[in-house]
């Protein structure tokens, strides 16, 4: 073997394998298919709906209950029902009227010698008597004649007085030695007769008193005694000395005036302390229209007064509330008035209990005030006039009542109608219906207003078709302290509105587009039933807490929610890289709910390129009688995009997601409500299947 042989042999050895490949023969296509657990969720409803939220509570049987509590939804004080208006000033005047004067006395004497000089018949009588002075002598009979003014007198207690009544008595004491007959005319200085006294026969040494009425008389203080119709039978027989009578020309005919029971119209006179007036004023107590107050207890207040007296003597004015007491004592106050000097002040009525119904003719809203004025004499002559008087002004101020009794009238307070719109896009898109089986609204009333208040609500819900679903709450009399035995007490009671007394189930069936509400609050709406005896205290109020309880005992069907997502061109890559992709969902639940998710994919032209249904949730096994889940249910579903679907799927631009939710139904029943329990559980397993087809 030479070298060439070996070389060619080697070359042939090399050349014998000619099955050559190049890198172009590398055909790498990745087709990995994997199933990967994405995750797991274990939810317990009590963790999701935390009872501590205050909105959701859990009953002992684990039932969820949506509780909405609004304290002081209604909080109305007594001022909204009864508010005392400002009291007007009341003016009251009284006149002094006829004023009593003290008794008066005045005296004068007619000396016999002076009388004798005035005797004209028989002539010489005066001389004879003067001659007989000191001796005994017969006195001849004197025929009737008018001796005239023989004496004057002065009354010191007044200057002049016009009497409304009174008696002026004249007493004549005959110290003459013979009987006389005479008439005494009391005249003023001008001689004008004022009073006439027919004395008649007055035996010697005897006296006679003759009263005369002063009514209508104006009597000056200086008076003349005019003797008229004077006569005397004489004494002694002339010539019979034994029949003679001692003659004393200084013997007097004493005349004395005494006035009593003197009541004047006017006078300038000394007065005497006396009561001028003792009267009662029915003070009208202003109250709102229709309110008839019979009793008020005042926590504060005062009666302001302003009094001016025109009476020329000081007065003591007693103001008294005959039907008002403080601590059992009548309310009264004495006010001293000086002539023409206004007196102002106030009488506290704090703590007073005023009875405003003492007047049978007007047994409400009247407060009698007694006023009694006493004239206090100063002993000085003053000019009196019965027309002079006292001007009084009374005003209640700062009045706050502690309690009030009476009838507070019939009041209607309108609750303005309004609308709460539920026309929300979310609600509209929800579709379907939710029916709550046992909703309940409670009003917890706390009331110390002793008057009947009727709540008349007009609440309704409106569906999209125009249907009206009234709540149907009847006019409801709110609890209140009804009798006098509950005066000042607070009544607490709860009004319950549920399916038994309202149409609340229909009212709350969702969805609704709007709620409308309005109504009235009526006070003393039915007096035949509730009477007219109302009372309040100054702190009376009514408050109401609303408690809405919505047990999650409900049925729901066809609740849907649709939304769309712009995916852009994100799916286009799937066409080249993905053979199949699938999302696997396994749910195990004791929730009484069914849920389905529908996926619809549209391309740029709006054509549907993919649809899928994903049953997300299948309700646990239900007991129709109780609405409770008795056993969990496991469901498995998958959303898959296969290789055949992928080209169209990859064109997808818009993804429409439609979720439909409803409550489960028990075997053999349909639409029965279910109960949502806090210990309901939902376990979700998520898995992803991905089959890739990627050519490198």
């Amino acid at each position: 073997m030479n070298k060439a042989t070996v070389f060619f042999a080697a070359l042939a050895l090399v050349a014998c394998q000619r099955d050559l490949l190049t890198v172009d023969d590398l055909d790498v296509t990745l087709r990995p298919g994997v199933v990967v657990p994405l995750g797991a969720l274990d939810l317990t409803l009590s963790d999701v709906f935390n009872p501590d939220s205050g909105l959701v509570t859990v009953d002992p049987d684990q039932t969820y209950r949506l509780v909405y509590r609004q304290t002081n939804l209604l909080d109305v004080g007594v001022a909204d029902f009864l508010e005392l208006p400002s009291q007007p000033t009341v003016a009251e005047n009284f006149k002094a009227g006829y004023i009593a004067l003290p008794n008066v006395n005045a005296a004068a004497a007619v000396r016999f010698g002076k009388l004798a000089r005035s005797i004209t018949n028989p002539a010489g009588f005066a001389a004879n008597m003067a001659a007989a002075q000191g001796s005994s002598a017969p006195i001849p009979a004197l025929p009737t004649q008018n001796p005239g003014n023989l004496a004057t007198t002065t009354i010191t207690s007044f200057s002049t007085a016009s009497f409304q009544s009174g008696i002026m008595t004249l007493k004549a004491v005959n110290h003459y030695p013979a009987a006389i007959n005479a008439t005494v005319v009391l005249a003023n200085l001008a001689g004008q007769p004022l009073l006439t006294y027919n004395l008649g026969s007055i035996p010697a040494g005897d006296s006679v008193s003759v009263p005369a009425s002063l009514a209508g008389k104006t009597i000056p203080n200086q008076l003349k005694f005019n003797l008229t119709s004077f006569s005397s039978p004489g004494a002694g027989t002339p010539g019979v000395p034994s029949s003679y009578v001692p003659i004393d020309t200084n013997a007097n005919l004493n005349l004395s005036l005494s006035g009593s029971n003197l009541i004047i119209y006017s006078a300038t006179a000394q007065t005497q302390t006396q009561t001028l007036v003792d009267d009662t004023l029915d003070l009208a107590f202003s109250a709102p229209a229709g309110v008839r107050l019979t009793e008020l207890g005042l926590s504060q207040g005062q009666l302001n007064y302003s009094i001016t007296s025109a009476v020329p003597e000081p007065l003591s004015l007693l103001l008294q509330f005959p039907s008002g007491t403080v601590n059992g004592q009548l309310i009264q106050q004495t006010i001293n008035l000086l002539p023409n000097q206004p007196a102002t002040g106030s009488i506290s009525v704090q703590g007073a209990q005023l009875f405003l119904g003492s007047n049978p003719a007007h047994p409400y809203n009247e407060l009698p005030i007694r006023y009694a004025a006493t004239l206090n004499s100063t002993g000085q002559q003053v000019t009196l006039d019965s027309a002079s008087g006292v001007a009084m002004n009374f005003t209640f101020a700062n009045v706050e009542f502690g309690h009030a009794l009476g009838f507070f009238g019939q009041q209607n307070v309108n609750i303005p109608a309004d609308t709460l719109s539920l026309d929300l896009d979310f609600v509209n898109r929800l579709g379907g219906s939710v029916v709550f089986a046992e909703p309940k609204v409670q009003l917890a009333i706390t009331n110390s207003l002793g008057l009947p208040i009727t709540l008349d609500l007009d609440v309704a819900s409106h569906d999209a078709q125009g249907g009206v679903h009234p709540l149907g709450i009847p006019p409801t009399l709110l609890p209140y302290p009804q009798t006098a035995t509950q005066f000042g007490q607070t009544v607490q009671d709860t009004l319950t509105f549920d399916k038994n007394n309202t149409a609340i189930v229909d009212f709350l069936t969702l969805p609704k587009q709007q709620f409308t509400y309005g109504g009235q609050v009526r006070v003393n709406a039915d007096t035949l039933a509730t009477g007219t005896e109302n009372f309040v205290t100054g702190t009376s109020a009514i408050s109401a807490d609303v408690l809405m309880e919505l047990p999650f005992y409900f049925s729901a069907q066809g609740l849907g929610l649709t939304d769309s997502v712009d995916l852009g061109t994100s799916l286009s890559a799937l066409d080249t890289a993905v053979q199949e992709v699938a999302l696997r969902v396994e749910t195990t639940t004791t929730l009484p709910l069914d849920a389905t998710l529908a996926l619809t994919l549209f391309d740029d032209l709006g054509q549907v390129v993919y649809t899928a249904q994903l049953p997300l949730l299948v309700s646990g096994l239900l007991d129709a009688a109780t609405g409770l889940v008795t056993a969990p249910t496991t469901s498995t579903s998958e959303v898959s995009v296969t290789a055949a679907q992928l080209p169209a799927f990859a064109r997808g631009r818009w993804l429409q997601l439609t979720a439909e939710l409803g409550t489960g139904t028990a075997p053999g029943s349909s639409g029965h409500p279910v109960k949502l329990l806090s210990d309901a559980e939902l376990s979700v397993r998520l898995g992803l299947l991905l089959d890739v087809h990627l050519e490198l």
């Binding site: 090399v14 890198v23 995750g39 797991a40 397993r685």
Partner: protein, 482 residues
């Protein structure tokens, strides 16, 4: 440039094996590096740097080319897919014969590395959890523990001695001092992804592993790849030398039959321990169960947090540890051969059993060899090697090696053990010239060396005698014709 140099050196470091055909190539002193008892026809020699480089994959080109890779992968022949590179470089070697003894000494560098990915792991990338029918198997059990990587570099100083005992027996031994320049391994006792069917189309995934990674760098070296610095302290290098022994023997059974046996790498295997600079232990299981939310204990659904936790769990699979390369050993070769030599000693045919063990590759093979000794100017050897057992799949290969004598005692040694796998230029589908890869190509090897040597006088005498005999023979034939 320095970086390029280092990178190139790193690639070259991925290999070795002395050319197996040198085992019986008498005119190449490199045979002594293969068999200390080799009969080398040289009085004195000096080998200049030589290299023997192999780049190998665990699969043939036909395993991955020419069809759908995924389909081809179903029949993938190896447990792992990856590349192996060995690079053995003889720095120098010199020797001489003194009567019946031969002495030599030399130095070499051995670089090698492999990176193997478990076949199932590649299959997972290709098919995921699909079974042979293409259906996703929720009970998928992917075991990836064949994934491994080794990088090793070592230098060697050796001193050899050979002695002839009579005319039939030669015994040789080489004492090696090996310095481990660097060594890094990554391997797994278990690594896998397991899926357990939980019904209704759901599964649980679990990543599990038990493995290790460690790296050692000789204290004499301080290499910084990032700034290209390279510091060498020779005084430290010798301190960490590992001693091993190569033994060999040849026996001339008859005039035409010769037996040869050798074993290299006796010594420190199993006794030497290298403490790793860095060691990481992979151990644990990571369940892929997806995010988990329990309303009674968690406050929010946090899938992102799950992935954060998952990442931490995966990171925690690797824990720094104090590891060592227990059982670290020298490169080992075992050879057993029988040769028939032609009467004129020009041709030899032999049957050669080969055992090779090195960090990146183990195999056993049986080779049918031919060695042609065409005078001192040209020697040619060729073999057909049938792998018997190997850590990665290996195809039968054809090896050719030649030694050409140049002027002045210089000789060029050139060969390849993958002659039947050599790429050839072909025209591609588009008509452009491209590289054609033989379907069975799973490695490429090139072996080249240069040495200077003086042949033995006995050979010259024998040659002169042969030429004189030929001349006399021709004269006799000429006389006979005349």
């Amino acid at each position: 440039m320095r970086t390029l140099f280092l990178a190139t050196g790193f690639w070259c470091a991925l290999s070795l094996s002395g050319q197996d055909l040198l085992y019986m190539q008498r005119g190449n002193p490199g045979s002594l590096l293969v068999n200390p008892a080799a009969d080398v026809d040289a009085r004195v020699w000096l080998s200049l740097p030589s290299i023997n480089t192999t780049a190998q994959t665990s699969f043939a080109a036909g395993d991955v080319l020419g069809g759908d890779l995924g389909t081809l992968w179903r029949q993938f022949p190896s447990e792992a897919a990856g590349a192996i590179a060995t690079h053995d470089m003889g720095l120098f070697s010199m020797g001489f014969k003194a009567k019946k003894s031969t002495f030599w000494l030399g130095s070499s560098l051995n670089f090698e590395g492999n990176a193997l990915i478990d076949r199932d792991l590649v299959g997972f990338l290709l098919w995921g959890m699909k079974d042979a029918n293409g259906d996703i198997d929720l009970n998928y059990d992917g075991r990836f523990e064949q994934t491994s990587a080794v990088v090793s570099a070592r230098s060697n100083l050796h001193l050899g001695w050979q002695r002839e005992f009579g005319s039939k027996l030669r015994v040789g031994a080489t004492l090696n001092a090996t310095q481990i320049l660097g060594h890094a391994v990554m391997g797994f006792d278990s690594l896998g992804l397991r899926s357990v069917d939980r019904g209704n189309g759901f599964n649980e995934l679990e990543l599990y592993t038990q493995g290790y990674a460690a790296a050692y760098t000789n204290n004499a070296l301080n290499v910084n790849l990032f700034d290209g610095t390279f510091l060498f302290d020779g005084s430290k290098l010798a301190k960490n030398s590992l001693i091993s022994l190569d033994l060999g023997g040849t026996y001339q059974l008859t005039k035409n039959w010769m037996l040869a046996a050798s074993y290299q790498g006796l010594g420190f295997e199993g006794r030497s321990v290298l403490d790793a600079d860095t060691a990481v232990r992979f151990e644990g299981r990571v369940p892929f169960s997806g995010f988990s939310y329990n309303s009674s204990t968690d406050t929010a659904v946090n899938p992102g947090g799950y992935f954060d936790t998952l990442l931490v769990q995966i990171q925690q699979l690797g824990q720094t540890s104090t590891g060592s390369f227990a059982g670290f050993g020298p490169l080992q070769r075992g050879d057993l051969a029988a040769y028939w030599r032609s009467p004129k000693k020009t041709h030899q045919l032999g049957l050669h059993y080969l055992y090779r063990a090195r960090p990146t590759l183990n195999y056993q093979a049986l080779a049918a060899e031919y060695h042609g000794f065409f005078g001192r100017r040209w020697q040619l050897s060729a073999s057909y090697t049938q792998p018997l057992r190997s850590s990665v799949a290996m195809r039968p290969s054809v090896s050719v090696h030649t030694t050409l004598r140049l002027a002045g005692g210089l000789a060029l040694s050139l060969g390849s053990s993958t002659v039947n796998m050599m790429p050839l230029p072909v025209k591609g589908a588009n008509g452009d010239l491209t590289l054609g890869l033989p379907r069975n190509m799973d490695r490429l090897n090139v072996n080249v060396g240069l040495h200077w040597m003086l042949y033995e006088k006995s050979y010259r005498k024998a040659a002169q005698e042969r030429r004189a005999a030929k001349k006399a023979k021709r004269q006799e034939r000429k006389k006979a014709r005349i």
